[in-house]
Symmetry: C2
Subunit: 190 residues, 2 copies
DNA sequence: TAAATAAATTGACCGCGGTCAATTTATATG
DNA sequence: CATATAAATTGACCGCGGTCAATTTATTTA
């Protein structure tokens, strides 16, 4: 049970992540190609897959990072005083999650842990999100007949719905924010 | 503005769909390969893409068919008398939608219309689902302070959440049905 | 320090979805 | 019926994610 982590390993992985971040900064998430990443990192293609199970695993990590940055902001906020404030506070996170259709697709695919053994970064952010929101609900003008945990899960469900409809041709007219507002008024109000 | 639809076209498309259905019946949705489908249909690969924009378009159609079969059943049912009955009635549909992880992923991706111009089969089934459920809610012991339309959207949101958690390692313990029951009791009860 | 062992890296190769210029087949026109 | 025109079909080819036996580099052992 020896853990032999060479620092070369860390260095290579860091170079891969760095290169990937640059590609994304320049062209967005969807345009990322593994071949471009390894070229910039100066390693062979096989090396990439020695560090990440597949391309999605890299995305899980990078998008997870982005979500966590949003959650860092959320944690700074004081508990919203009403539904309007709650929705407004959540918006930056939802905007990031829907910055690209591809990003939203990856999030949906990984919001539940993808594999049995490995629980991905994105799945962990959903847990964290639930806890942050749950804490807010404890001292606000919201219904109390069910647990804050359940209310928080509902907020996630409605958030996903509102985000999904952003990409839906059938419902493009209403904004994500106003839609979520409608949902959460019906869900949270006593 | 002449529409010249050769019957050869229809025949070829039917052969492709037939072949695809057979492959799926034998090996499931995820295992479907376009090359296998065209081989069985006796046409070249390019022909497939003259009939379907991409592989997903075929999946949208075939999975959409499956959902519509479930909805046909649902329409036969009389309006559920309470939440328990409602959930029980919905289960066959949810079971089909989660018969494979791949199937659920495709459904999520296409539940909103994928492209602006073309509204896919799966997206249409969500509309249909909303209408069927909405009609049920009009005469049942459910809350009436918001529209049945909104309630139906919430049922969809919670259904998606319950299905997603079925594939989630973090929440594998509770069944899809009991989870949905918890959600909908909190959502629908007056 | 040299030999043995384990870990990291390499790049040719594969599978499979998707493209397109060229060809075949059907339909409209004189 | 012959010719022009449009539609359908073909298959070689490409892009890109992912694999793996062979090789290089680091660590352990004698």
């Amino acid at each position: 049970m020896t853990k032999t982590v060479q620092k070369r390993t860390l260095a290579t992985r860091a170079r891969l992540v760095e290169a990937a971040s640059n590609v994304i900064a320049e062209n967005g998430y969807e345009a990322l190609r593994v071949e471009e990443v390894v070229k910039r990192a100066g390693v062979a293609k096989g090396t990439f897959f020695a560090h990440f199970a597949d391309k999605d695993a890299l995305m899980d990590r990078l998008i997870g990072e982005g979500i966590n940055r949003c959650l860092d902001e959320l944690e700074q906020c004081k508990a919203p005083a009403d539904v309007e404030e709650l929705v407004a506070t959540l918006m930056p996170l939802l905007e990031f999650m829907t910055c690209e259709r591809y990003v939203f697709d990856v999030i949906l695919r990984y919001s539940g842990a993808a594999a049995i053994e490995r629980i991905g970064d994105i799945a962990m952010t959903f847990e964290r999100h639930g806890q942050v929101v749950s804490a807010w609900l404890a001292d606000g003008p919201f219904r109390r007949d069910v647990s804050t945990q359940l209310l928080a899960e509902g907020i996630q469900a409605f958030s996903v719905q509102a985000m999904a409809l952003k990409f839906c041709a059938l419902h493009a007219s209403e904004s994500m924010e106003s839609r979520l507002l409608t949902y959460l008024r019906a869900w949270l109000i006593v």
